[in-house]
């Protein structure tokens, strides 16, 4: 008897507990799983508390609004209602804070509390920027929304339709349009015509790379008006719409976006290398070296230029140039669009032009009011949306010289809080009504 007992496998509490991180599938990179959550519309909420009441009937089998997983708060000064609701974040802070690993994020995206392991310490309520796990004032238990396993009662019973259950946007037309434009640009600039981005001429129309033109002027020492005017097209496009070239047209950007889909794990850059000013230094260096050497020095290693020159069906296939694109695309292993963020002198030129831009992106934290959502910050490829500010309820200031106008944030925001505005418009979404 004693011997057989010793042979039994020893299960510890650790073995029983769910693994915390959500399993990521490779297919998620191309077709991300839609995150389920409940959308709250403060304009419709009347503060009747039906959601609290009906939620408690499921939580504790009683009508006990204090025991609900949703809470309606009223700001009497502003006369507005707000709902405290779990957003089932992609990276839940409550999950990381839980000392007993009682919180898990399932494959269905729902963040749940495993009552077996929860010790009601309340750390999750402190960690959550929404304070969405709610401590029952009567029993001390922690209640957290589990979306009623896919059919939320609060949504069904809300008399004003202020709550909507969503599994995310089914079709993101901006995303589809961007991929379409990027693919067409790649086809045109890289595959069909040789050297198109650097210099293109069709009849009397001439277009050229502004950075290449700057180097040209520096190396030749003369201002060629035709060349300068041909570079103006891209600059005018940038003044009108911001750095849309980088987000929608650039063939190397397209390659980086594709590489991003297959990067297994990012290793990050050391902090001292993460300077967005570096690309302006490289631009200065490119112009200076061109002046010193007497030829367009940077163009020989420019990944956009080499991609256009060396990878098409009619390309030169120079072995040295062929290596540049994969070498620089490998920077994607460190951070998304690392090249665009820190190194690209073309982006720097367009960044300077975008100082005169007409458009800007604004994100109204008041409109979203879901500090734990931060999907805009997560999808931004150049990492210019400050998630910490959003978590504090502050509308983040977006540096438009860095923004590549890919509109991922606008496309992704479930609250319509990310918008395109003219630069002189002061209001951010949600603030005009207050």
């Amino acid at each position: 008897m004693e011997a057989s007992r010793q042979l039994e496998p020893r299960l510890t509490l650790e073995d029983l507990r769910p693994r915390t991180p959500e399993k990521r599938r490779f297919s998620d990179r191309f077709m991300p799983r839609r995150n389920s959550y409940i959308l709250f519309d403060p304009a419709k909420c009347t503060g009747c508390g039906t959601c609290e009441m009906i939620c408690s009937t499921r939580n504790v089998a009683k009508v006990a609004p204090a025991s609900a997983s949703v809470k309606v708060l009223t700001d009497e000064r502003l006369g507005k209602n707000f709902a405290v609701l779990c957003q089932h974040c992609r990276r839940p802070l409550c999950l990381e804070a839980c000392p007993t690993r009682a919180i898990e994020k399932g494959d269905d995206g729902i963040v749940r509390i495993n009552d077996l392991f929860c010790v009601d310490c309340g750390l999750c309520t402190m960690a959550c920027p929404e304070a969405a796990p709610l401590k029952d004032p009567g029993t001390g238990d922690i209640h957290k929304c589990d979306l009623c396993e896919g059919d939320p009662l609060c949504v069904q019973h809300c008399p004003e339709g202020a709550l909507t259950y969503t599994r995310g946007k089914a079709f993101r037309w901006i995303k589809a349009a961007r991929w379409g434009v990027q693919a067409l640009s790649f086809l045109f600039l890289v595959i069909l015509v040789v050297g198109t981005f650097c210099y293109f001429r069709a009849g009397t129309v001439e277009l050229s790379c502004p950075t290449g033109t700057l180097q040209n002027i520096a190396s030749s020492g003369t201002l060629i008006l035709v060349g300068a005017s041909s570079a103006l097209a891209l600059l005018i496009l940038t003044v009108l719409f911001g750095r849309v070239f980088c987000g929608w047209v650039c063939p190397f950007g397209f390659v980086l976006d594709l590489v991003d889909k297959i990067v297994p794990k990012r290793i990050g850059w050391p902090k001292f290398l993460k300077s967005r000013m570096a690309k302006y230094g490289i631009l200065g260096g490119a112009v200076g070296s061109s002046a010193a050497l007497g030829y367009q020095a940077f163009c020989t290693v420019c990944p956009i230029g080499t991609l256009c020159r060396s990878y098409g069906v009619t390309s030169f296939m120079q072995s040295a140039e062929l290596a540049i694109v994969p070498a620089l695309a490998a920077t994607e292993l460190a951070e998304r669009r690392s090249w665009c963020r820190y190194l690209c002198p073309v982006g720097a030129t367009l960044g300077i032009a975008s100082l005169l831009r007409l458009l800007k992106i604004v994100i109204g934290a008041r409109k979203c009011k879901k500090f734990s959502c931060i999907q805009c910050a997560e999808v931004c490829p150049v990492g210019i949306i400050n998630a910490d500010e959003l978590r504090e309820g502050i509308s983040p200031k977006i540096p438009m010289t860095e923004c590549i106008m890919c509109l991922r944030c606008v496309d992704r925001c479930p609250y319509d809080a990310a918008k395109i505005r003219f630069r002189w418009q002061k209001s951010t979404p949600g603030e005009a009504n207050t």
């Binding site: 009747c48 204090a66 502003l78 008399p159």
Partner: protein, 438 residues
């Protein structure tokens, strides 16, 4: 076998302010069955105590999944008219009292010092408030939030009640109330500044209640009863509602509903002109604002002042002369709040087309959306069942049996309950204290 299931804890809390003691009693099932609840049960409970006692009670549906189950009723004998008065208190006050573990609270005697009663987890606690007299309602609310945090609903009195103004009006969470018959004065006489409710508990419900609730709401929606939401549609139905609609134009914010009400009749508004432009007030008293609007274009700042002082806007409107400058009108309100004499109007409070005595018995402030006996019966039924009386009128298609089905699934029992409810409505509108033991 009876399937009657009232939504009750079965507890009565009794607090004696003279001795600062409190205890709880069991609420007998027979008493609930005979008197159903709410105002009717309050009257019966009051018969067991001194005539100057004050009873706050809930109906059998208060806090339940029945629509607009928000009601708490304050019952007392009016010294002015020598009959019972039942003041409805909405927002979340009813459910919070019920979820605090008691269904009915009897307040006896009078405290020596100003105090508040805090009800939570089936217990009643007396909280001394020595610095509260004379404080405007908003300041008092702030003081209470700091001094006795955690309460989720409150009924307070303002400086007008402290100064024995006969037109003092109790205020639900600082937003005013339909009290025009002296609930605030009765509270002030007991030195009771506030009733703080913290319902952290809950009550079991019948399995079919969620579906029944949804079906009732859908039927109301389909009938078009819920199409006009907010303060404006309701105030427009009043005789002098056009002026009020003009006054609030462009100043209205979002709608606000009482507990589980599918048809909000209140709206937030920015009063402006008071130096605190961003602060909102909740427009709850339709008739009060309509009356103020008749006297002044600055009805919203005046209403805000009324709420701060804790006086009835209808009385304030009657005391004001027409088209006074705002400053003078505000001073007149101060004078009214400080005066101990009633306004010179024998018909106050009254509503056109409604028997004045009925109107006063039911608190004198329920928005008169219909007239005659129909209004009185619907309002009285609401006060007995624990449903908002304004909702009962807005949802005119809502039959009483629709609500009684929440008490019993058996249609025969529903019929007998309806008969009993009719009897209780009759008794309620007589305004008499039922004899003990009845």
């Amino acid at each position: 076998m009876s399937l009657y299931q009232p939504f009750y804890n079965g507890k009565i809390g009794v607090v004696d302010l003279t001795t600062l003691s409190s205890y709880t009693l069991d609420l007998s099932a027979d008493l609930c069955r005979d008197h159903i609840g709410g105002a009717s049960l309050n009257a019966r409970v009051l018969s067991e105590y001194e005539s100057d006692s004050l009873v706050f009670g809930t109906g059998p549906l208060t806090g339940s999944l029945a629509p607009a189950s928000a009601l708490l009723v304050g019952t007392f004998r009016s010294p002015r008219w020598d009959h019972l008065c039942h003041v409805p208190c909405m927002l979340r006050s009813g459910p919070e009292l019920k979820f605090s573990g008691i269904d009915c609270l009897v307040v006896r005697g009078a405290a020596k010092e100003p105090c508040a009663l805090s009800v939570s987890r089936g217990r009643v606690r007396v909280v001394p408030l020595p610095d509260s007299p004379g404080k405007p309602v908003y300041e008092l609310m702030q003081m209470l939030r700091q001094g006795a945090p955690g309460f989720r609903a409150s009924i307070v009195t303002g400086p007008a009640a402290d100064r024995n103004c006969p037109h003092a009006s109790a205020s639900i969470g600082g937003h005013g109330s339909p009290d025009r018959v002296g609930l605030a004065a009765r509270m002030a006489a007991k030195n009771l500044k506030a009733l703080l409710l913290n319902g952290v508990g809950g009550l079991p419900f019948r399995e079919d209640h969620p579906a029944l609730s949804k079906a009732t709401e859908k039927r109301l929606k389909d009938s078009g009863a819920l199409s006009n939401k907010g303060f404006l549609p309701v105030v427009r139905t009043l005789d002098d509602g056009a002026e009020a609609a003009k006054v609030v134009r462009g100043r209205l914010g979002r709608n606000r509903a009482c507990y589980h009400c599918p048809c909000p009749c209140m709206t937030w508004a920015a009063p402006g002109k008071t130096g605190t432009g961003k602060e909102s007030i909740l427009l709850m008293d339709h008739a009060g604002l309509a009356a103020l609007s008749r006297k002044s274009e600055d009805a919203l700042p005046l209403l805000k002042r009324c709420l701060e002082l804790g006086i009835d806007p209808l009385a304030a409107a009657q005391a004001l002369r027409e088209d006074r400058p705002l400053r003078e009108a505000l001073d007149a309100l101060e004078a009214l709040a400080a005066a101990g004499t009633p306004i010179d109007d024998e018909d106050y409070p009254s509503a056109p087309g409604i028997e004045t005595r009925d109107y006063r018995i039911l608190g004198g402030g329920i928005t008169p959306l219909s007239t005659g006996r129909a209004w009185a019966e619907r309002a009285a039924s609401a006060l007995i069942l624990g449903i908002c009386p304004v909702f009962m009128q807005i949802a005119a298609r809502l039959d009483r049996s629709d609500l009684l089905r929440f008490l019993s699934p058996d249609m025969e029992e529903v019929k007998s309950l309806a008969v009993r409810l009719d009897g209780q409505v009759e008794m309620l509108l007589e305004g008499k204290i039922p004899e003990a033991g009845v």
